[in-house]
């Protein structure tokens, strides 16, 4: 060694935004360098649209789907379902970090816990944004029409991103608490399917059986789908209870983020 490795540097009070953007950059690079991951996450909604569109194609005969057909009805549901699935796996990244030792190194840095989680959520949100655009484009090609216009599209995508934050936070919290990839997969499977089917994703609320209707009413997936559907169909002004549903969705997303933040302590206790 010719020169000394350690020479004085100026260390300033570091801003939250700097830490956040470094964490965001790290996860985004990771995603971009795993083309298989991002490729399949964009291909998945295409399969769902084709699959569900085909399986439920006879439903267009029902009066509930008279205006615009089943595809127009289905797309907001697929949109929310896609981000729900995507978010449910978000914690896998932390599992890999805990197994490799990267997590321990991060926790031993003066890195704010909110920046550590929010930076990763931001990458997840970007992925969900790409997925949302994919769903809307493929949906349009499949025959869906968005009478809500640009405002409707923006509102629907915004709601999808809030749902993405909510479920990514659940996934992160489960990952940090269990510290186990198999447990995360199991819990994600258990949550995701009921969340989708006990909601208005595939069926209008009124066509669901009685007890399913009751569950669907308090299901965040239903709130997101209802707002998204009203926005895309241009019914934001006329549909009932959307403000309440939006408020509930935001509150749940915030609470779940705080839960994931608290779960970092559980990781620390196990050290």
């Amino acid at each position: 060694m010719t020169t000394t490795a350690v020479q004085p540097v100026t260390v300033r009070q570091v801003r939250w935004t700097t830490q956040f953007s470094q964490v965001f950059l790290r996860w985004t690079r990771g995603q971009l360098r795993e083309p298989w991951g991002i490729g399949t996450s964009l291909f998945q909604p295409v399969i769902w649209i084709v699959l569900f569109g085909a399986v439920f194609s006879t439903l267009k005969a029902l009066p509930a789907f008279s205006d615009g057909g089943y595809v127009t009805f289905l797309i907001p549901g697929i949109l929310m379902m896609t981000v729900l699935y995507s978010g449910a796996w978000a914690g896998q990244g932390f599992i890999m970090d805990m197994d490799s030792g990267v997590m321990a190194s991060m926790m031993a840095m003066p890195l704010r816990r909110t920046a550590l989680l929010a930076g990763q959520l931001a990458t997840q949100t970007v992925i969900c944004l790409l997925q949302a655009v994919t769903v809307l484009v493929i949906g349009w090609l499949a025959g869906a029409r968005y009478s809500g216009g640009v405002v409707g599209l923006l509102v629907a995508v915004a709601v999808a991103l809030v749902l993405c934050v909510a479920f990514s936070s659940v996934s992160n919290a489960v990952a940090l608490i269990t510290r186990n990839g198999i447990a995360l997969i199991g819990i994600a499977q258990i949550i995701v399917l009921p969340m989708t089917f006990l909601s208005s994703t595939m069926m209008p609320h009124d066509l669901l059986p009685g007890w399913v209707q009751n569950v669907a009413t308090v299901n965040p997936q239903t709130w997101a789908v209802d707002i998204g559907r009203a926005a895309l169909n241009g019914n934001l002004g006329s549909a009932d209870g959307l403000a309440w549903k939006a408020a509930c969705l935001l509150t749940v997303a915030a609470l779940l983020f705080f839960w994931s933040l608290r779960s970092l302590r559980s990781f620390q206790r196990a050290q």
């Binding site: 060694m1 700097t18 830490q19 964490v23 360098r33 990267v102 190194s105 031993a108």
Partner: protein, 328 residues
């Protein structure tokens, strides 16, 4: 607890409990690390080395006891401790999907080093740690030794006061280990950096560390410079292997031999190994073999050795240093 020492820890205790059992990791461990030294925590698996490092680097919290790192309390002032340390975990610190340069810059930026300075500081570390050739390849394509150097660079880039290295040489080939130790020893010469390293390689700790602390069952057993520790036991070590014998018979045979001290009798497989220290190796050897002969015990290999840290361990802990073995 204001202090000039880089690290001062008093009576650290920590237990891990699960539903099935409770494990005591630290049982009242105290230590002082002087500034600017390479300080080794030496001990077998489960002795408490990693737990100590995790508590001192704010990763884990002690059940009781107190510790100051760089003058800051690890509990009350964790953020300032984190600002003044670098920590290299047993696994990897670097993201495998990024390049060494990207990883090192990220570590600097998260800690508050400005963008320009992060780049120049990174370039300097890349050069001094011999990472030029691989600085812009993905970390996942690097060798174990290169990865370790990236981890260390990430921990050094903000010019910390204290660096923790948890088993940095584990799993590396001898050549990579030697190269890494050259870096570690070089680090402490820079700006009074204190380096705390856990290792289970006795010979490395002996040759390369300024201060060694032996840990066993969550307690500090004995500490000092390697020379002090070896001088403290004095004399010459003698080991005699007695094939296919009973430990009690061997102990009975040699217990009354006068010119030896610190007798330890251990079973290794079917054989019994007896270890002693003496100031007169020739007389002691004659007396020991004579006593074994007298009791009808055949002896095999005989080894004479100057004091090593293995002997220090044997003397203070009471059994041979056996990193992998069970020590119940």
């Amino acid at each position: 607890m204001p202090t000039d020492a880089a690290i001062e820890a008093v009576d650290l205790r920590k237990t891990y409990s699960s539903r099935k059992r409770t494990v005591t990791a630290l049982d009242g461990l105290s230590l002082t690390v002087p500034t600017g030294q390479v300080f080794a925590l030496l001990g077998p698996n489960g002795a408490g080395k990693s737990t100590t490092v995790k508590i001192l680097s704010t990763l884990a919290t002690a059940d009781s006891g107190s510790a100051c790192v760089g003058g800051f309390d690890v509990g009350r002032d964790a953020r300032r401790v984190r600002q003044s340390i670098g920590y290299v975990s047993q696994g990897t610190s670097a993201d495998a999907r990024m390049t060494p340069r990207e990883n090192i810059i990220m570590s600097a930026r998260i800690r508050g080093v400005g963008a320009g300075e992060a780049r120049t500081s990174t370039a300097r570390l890349v050069a001094t740690l011999g990472l030029d050739e691989c600085a812009d390849q993905y970390v996942k394509t690097l060798s174990g030794g290169q990865r370790r150097r990236v981890d260390i660079a990430c921990a050094l880039v903000h010019a910390p006061q204290v660096v923790f290295l948890d088993e940095p040489t584990a799993g590396l080939d001898p050549e990579a280990r030697a190269a890494l130790w050259q870096i570690i020893v070089g680090m402490s010469a820079d700006n009074g950096l204190s380096v705390i390293v856990t290792t289970h390689y006795m010979d490395e700790a002996d040759r390369l560390c300024d201060h060694v602390l032996l840990i066993d069952h969550g307690r500090a057993v004995v500490g000092g410079t390697p020379d002090e520790l070896k001088a403290s036991i004095g004399g010459t070590g003698l080991t005699v292997t007695v094939p296919a014998a009973q430990p009690d018979d061997v102990r009975g045979a040699v217990e009354t031999v006068g010119v030896v001290r610190d007798l330890v009798v251990e079973t290794t497989g079917d054989d019994v190994r007896l270890a002693v220290r003496t100031d007169d190796a020739t007389a002691a050897l004659a007396a020991l073999t004579g006593a074994l002969d007298h009791h009808g015990l055949d002896y095999g290999a005989v080894a004479v050795s100057r004091p090593s840290l293995d002997d220090v361990y044997l003397r203070y802990v009471g059994h041979s240093y056996n990193y992998e073995g069970d020590l119940t």
